[in-house]
Amino acid sequence: MNSLEIAATNTTPEVLFDPNMNLLIMNGELYPENATAFFSPLINWLEGFLGKKNEPITCNINIPYFNTSSSKYLMHIFEMLNRAHKKEKKIIINWYYEEGDEMSMECGEEFQEDLDLQFELVEKKS
């Protein structure tokens, strides 16, 4: 299985999904005009990935801002990971936010509240 690598744009984050390291990274702002177009390849890739591996997966999310339609897709991705977690897969999501950025921390909390898997809020010192 190949990695999924997408470069950042003004409105979409850098994406690095690495099947060898079992590492899923999203890094940057997220408010695309067409959230469906941005997320479809990510969701397709994850469907293949989660069906195959049975090793611990780390998901590092550093998205300082996202719009509401992206919020829906992020939840969709987290729920895919949550379902895998319920099937005994070890998964950790790290939600990074800048020190002092309460809005970003609360966004992380609101995902955390609705998921059973290990979801860590990680403050980045500025």
Partner: protein, 180 residues
């Protein structure tokens, strides 16, 4: 020229320091949004005020793009360019965003009903509603998530203010004011 000067003075009197009127493409949203955010991040003591205003601006503009019934030009075969007016200002030390767009009269009632419903809810109830709606799949034909107005209601410091003015038998002008 004098009309434009009158307009400028009117805007300034209302505390408005940015106004856009016309067809709204995503490029416009990006450019104006970036400008406001960078400016406020420099000017405001709390650097996250800029981010908050920016976030509300994005959802407010998206709201016009989704629901305005004034279509300027066919942008592509799939989407069309919607038109509206958007202002950002500061009064009594508080930021506000106002949007205006044309809606068909038949949509008027459901729009008012939706805002009244959101205004009747507490922040905690709005959070619950946001989470319930977030679980629902996105409408892939329109790309709408249906969360924008709930998010706006959650983040605004006051109840949403709105006004609907009849233009003719077909259309009305819908104004939404968000206090931050």
């Amino acid at each position: 020229m004098s009309n434009l000067l009158t307009l400028k003075k009117e805007l300034e009197k209302g505390g408005i320091n940015l106004c856009y009127c016309g067809p709204i493409s995503y490029d416009v949203l990006e450019a104006i949004g970036k400008n406001i955010r960078e400016r406020l991040e420099k000017e405001e003591k709390n650097q996250y005020v800029g981010k908050k205003v920016f976030g509300l601006f994005v959802e407010a503009v998206q709201n016009i793009k989704d629901y305005s019934d004034e279509i300027m030009a066919e942008e592509t075969q799939v989407t069309s360019l919607k038109s509206g007016i958007i202002t950002i200002g500061k009064k009594d030390n508080k930021f506000f965003i106002e949007t205006g767009n044309i809606v068909n009269n038949e949509k008027k009632d459901s729009l008012v009903e939706q805002i009244k419903k959101l205004n009747s809810m507490t922040k905690e109830e709005l959070k619950v509603l946001y989470k319930i709606e977030r679980q629902k799949p996105i409408d892939e034909s329109t790309g709408r998530g249906g969360l924008g107005l709930i998010d706006i209601a959650r983040k605004s410091s006051e109840k949403l203010e709105y006004d609907i003015t009849a233009i003719d038998s077909q259309n009305s002008f819908y104004l939404l004011r968000i206090s931050i």
